[in-house]
Symmetry: C2
Subunit: 153 residues, 2 copies
Amino acid sequence: MSRTAILLTTLQLLVIGGCNSNTPNKNADEEIIALERSALDKWSQSNTRGYVDISADDVTWFDFTPGKQLRIDGIEEFRNFVEPFGKQIPPHKYELANPKVQLYGNTAILTFHWNASTPDGQPMPSWKATSVYNWKDGKWRMVHGHWSVVQTE
Amino acid sequence: MSRTAILLTTLQLLVIGGCNSNTPNKNADEEIIALERSALDKWSQSNTRGYVDISADDVTWFDFTPGKQLRIDGIEEFRNFVEPFGKQIPPHKYELANPKVQLYGNTAILTFHWNASTPDGQPMPSWKATSVYNWKDGKWRMVHGHWSVVQTE
């Protein structure tokens, strides 16, 4: 192998490596849905910490609580908002229904419907959910969430 | 300049060019807010086509219309849903308030509040809006929208 050929090969590897060094793997859909489930599993046990745990430092959040309609900006604000009301959430069983992941490079949009019922089988209101994830430093983190209640006719 | 040096320079340019060939320019915030305004300007004139015009083929949409709570998937479904009700929207003045753009590579999340009033000054309900944009083939296109009404206390 000539010196030029070695140089060429090395630089080609740099091109490939440089572009892909921060690329999510091929199981993005499953990984992202699993992350969302990890947060919702805790939520169903009256624990709101799961969403804090999966969020990026720059997370933004549109909540549905009356009087909490401003956008929540950043992990500190999100933690301060979400942690206090964990105990107000009744234990429930939930279904993450109709999930779809749109993947654009290092960013993914998860959309789904959340249906739930109390332990004695009473249905709770259903919700539409958008969770946007970004792949950084080798892991997916939620960077935006928006939940809104399903309007019945 | 030696042959090796020329080769090095050429390949360095390839590294830079290869990674950045599909990178949005630095005015992403302004461009994205302008796109959203172009759609909302038409909306305020009872014309829903603006949102179709700025959307990608794979757009998804969570609407707020009672009975239209399934996720809308793809530009055809979105067009068929949104075009018929343009005439039902009263003319209004609107404010795109509190906008924030989170930029992650070729994807950007625009969040804002939409406040509006009728021509005679009556306030309309306010909304929280999430619009996710993706940069492809040299332009930004909306790939997801989620709107929910602001809940008063």
